[in-house]
Symmetry: C2
Subunit: 227 residues, 2 copies
DNA sequence: ACTTTAAACGGACCTCGGTCCGGATCGTAA
DNA sequence: TTACGATCCGGACCGAGGTCCGTTTAAAGT
């Protein structure tokens, strides 16, 4: 029963309302993992089963093996149930990533410096990038597969959380800049697809990516690394 | 008979060889539009028909209306033909963009300054971003839909061409930096998906995006705009 | 315990991208 | 002009994501 309490947001009944912004977990506040709409008992049980089944499938056949039908079958549940719970394949994969996502967020919002508060903002930013970088490569395939259609990528709460954090740090360093906008190219450097390209297709070593991040931060913020 | 000579590269027969890097149009050299493998007469005719049909469908039903079957039907051609010619849906859409792609490339490689050679590198870079920005918004939906799966985005020749250009400019400005890497966040700022998000979802005006680009270039290169 | 109702369930069904392969066609060389 | 091989064509076929709706069930109220 892994993944018991992930991504506790529920989706609207079934015929989802056309465009209404689905109520997503408030990642920005580290919402307690077990909160909110409180699923019905059977729904919660199935949800856990599904996540469990999915991660088992990944372990056995890779992300490509995570077919909605396969997951449903492995969890001994109807296909419709998978979609009702997670909306679509992307939603399911995101839910799988939710745990590490929350962990990272906790680290940079409340953990020890230099990632957490206490260190100078530019150092925190450098640490942030490196942390994200390593989190990504750890589960690169999953992150790649979880990239929803380009239309929703930037609007997704998990991206927004990162964006907000970077924006806030930037504001502490360069109060006069358009930090909200400036945060975007920084975050883009941490795009799973880019990492995939650089590491797997171009064969770059992680050290170079790391150095690239540090250099980027220095240039964008006009600061210099401490060490 | 619009689009007669776009993207003249042919794909291998049909059962495409597994992973062999399909011979793509050498965008980096502004290959003449009418070059290369020279399709058989009927193939060329169908190719033109298909592109024509596709652009007609877009005009009538938007990009979403461009179904492979719909295109085939509209061009009075078998479905298999579409796939043989363009590989997949992404390939078809890219082919539609090929024209403006080549135009832009010609402009920044051989056109008048500040886009083309003659102006200082940092000014060229600023002009480049603005040009790309406006090219994107002009056909944003098409660009969005043409985004292939994340795995191939950065490897595609049309991206490589932009990347190479930016890298070269950067090297003229900051010879000691890791320009190849530094070019990535700059290009990411010009990602259709990001533009879409900022303009349509956040409602930012183009002026702000433009200013953001100029500022980004200044910070990354450590230069200041001339005017 | 019994009723009630909103929520969850399941799996048939639809669409669309992508593949396959027997048959038609083009271009060429004799 | 004819014959031949490479290339192309077409549409049946498959798998996977996503939807629908009649049925079941948890849980709150009486």
């Amino acid at each position: 029963m892994l993944y018991a309490g992930f991504m506790s947001a529920t989706l609207p009944p079934f015929p989802r309302p056309p465009q209404e912004p689905v109520d997503e977990p408030e990642l920005l506040q580290l919402g307690s993992p077990e909160d909110s709409p409180c699923l019905r008992a059977d729904a919660a049980r199935n949800r856990a089963r599904l996540l469990d089944a999915a991660s088992r499938l990944i372990a056995e056949h890779g992300v490509a093996g995570v077919t909605m039908e396969a997951v449903a079958a492995a969890a001994q549940v109807g296909k419709g149930t998978v979609f009702r719970r997670f909306g679509d394949r992307t939603g399911l994969l995101m839910a799988l990533l939710d745990h590490s996502s929350r962990t990272l967020q906790a680290d940079f919002m409340g953990g020890p410096p230099p990632l957490g508060p206490g260190a100078p903002a530019d150092e925190r930013l450098r640490a942030f990038g490196v942390a994200v970088l390593y989190r990504l490569v750890e589960q690169l395939d999953l992150h790649l597969a979880a990239q929803s259609d380009p239309t929703r990528r930037f609007a997704h709460p998990s991206y927004r959380a990162l964006h907000t954090h970077v924006t806030i740090l930037l504001r502490q360093i360069a109060p006069d800049a358009d930090c909200e906008l400036l945060a975007q190219p920084l975050l883009s450097y941490l795009d799973p697809a880019l990492i995939h390209h650089l590491v797997r297709q171009c064969g770059m070593p992680m050290e170079r990516l790391e150095a690239g991040w540090v250099d980027l931060v220095s240039r964008v913020t006009g600061t210099a690394p401490s060490c």
